[in-house]
Amino acid sequence: MHEHSVALSIVETALRHAAGRKVESLTIEAGLFSGVFADSLRFYLELLFEEQGQPIPNFHLSSPPARCRCECGSEYPLSVVLDGCPSCGGHRRTLLTGRDCVLVSMEVADA
């Protein structure tokens, strides 16, 4: 449900960067621990572009694994939230990525 406000924030940022040019695509990463569901986000993104009277861009939405650093020193990608470190099995780790939902990049038409 909060995907609505997440989408709002993304659309705002995208239109600001586009500065009047047509937005052709958005590349978005919803982190494993971002609490954002890609399908729901897509729904609101389409809705918001439509509401703004803008053509609907292509959305490249992905949910990449989170990057973790284990206390044993190994760095690894995590895609199943309860899994442990592949080297030592431990769970004491620092999350390097995976908390955020990020607008990574976008394509805009030539002015």
């Binding site: 449900m1 909060h2 406000s5 997440v6 924030s9 993304i10 940022t13 995208a14 960067h17 586009a18 040019r21 052709e24 695509s25 494993l32 621990f33 971002s34 609490g35 954002v36 939230v81 309860l82 442990g84 431990g90 769970h91 004491r92 780790r93 999350l95 908390r99 955020d100 939902c101 990020v102 607008l103 990574v104 990049s105 976008m106 394509e107 805009v108 038409a109 030539d110």
Partner: protein, 214 residues
């Protein structure tokens, strides 16, 4: 040829900025600030009533609810300074809403500020409000698989309170499993058992809270 723009902007960036302002506001006043997150009815207001009975006006509470209920009245009656935010349908509180409430009244004498978030295990987890830490409440009537199902919250919660522990004999809730999953998500989580009905665990909670460095 379309032009590719690198943006790398978090959807939370704007909220996070205001949250940082709120955090500074708390720090200036030497207040500790907590964010209570749980599903509806897990016992947030009940715990705040019990805390109010001990802390009185040194406890401040900002409580969010989708519609007018009486959580703030209950907490004020128990002795704390409390105000209600009606979100009118939103599923989480935002830093901006908290900022308004912080500026709207003096909060004289408040040492601990608790934000009671909207009852919801997903949406509030990723909206920083300026709190120093999050507390997840999980009642034993909800099922022991909840930490695994809602990792965004249990990853971020510094303390997990298993509430309504008095009801444990009546439900199939595997405490060991729930706690094991909590620790897989946050190896340093403080786990406590609470009952607002019997008072079990309240001393331990208040003790942990008073000693937690801010």
């Amino acid at each position: 040829m379309p032009e590719i723009l690198s943006v790398k902007s978090s959807a939370m960036a704007k909220n996070d900025l205001v949250a940082a302002e709120n955090r500074a506001w708390f720090r200036c006043r030497g207040m500790r600030a907590l964010n209570f997150i749980s599903s509806p009815g897990a016992g947030k207001t009940s715990l705040l009533e019990a805390m109010a009975a001990r802390l009185g006006r040194k406890l401040g509470v900002i409580t969010g609810d989708i519609q007018m209920t009486f959580d703030a009245d209950r907490i004020a009656k128990a002795g704390a300074q409390a105000v209600q935010i009606e979100t009118g349908g939103s599923c989480h509180l935002t830093a901006e809403q908290i900022r308004k409430e912080l500026l709207a009244r003096p909060w004289d004498g408040v040492e601990t500020m608790v934000i009671e978030n909207i009852g919801n295990l997903i949406c509030p987890s990723t909206y920083e409000l300026g709190e120093f830490f999050k507390v997840a409440l999980l009642s034993v009537t909800e099922g022991d698989e909840k930490p695994a199902k809602y990792p965004a919250l249990f990853l971020r919660a510094e303390a997990v309170l298993l509430t309504k522990i008095d009801l444990l004999p009546h439900v199939n809730f595997d405490v060991a499993r729930a706690e094991r999953d909590c620790l897989k998500l946050n190896a340093d989580a403080k786990l406590l058992h609470l009952s607002c009905k019997t008072g079990q665990g309240l001393d331990a909670w208040m003790d942990w809270l008073s000693k937690r460095p801010v």
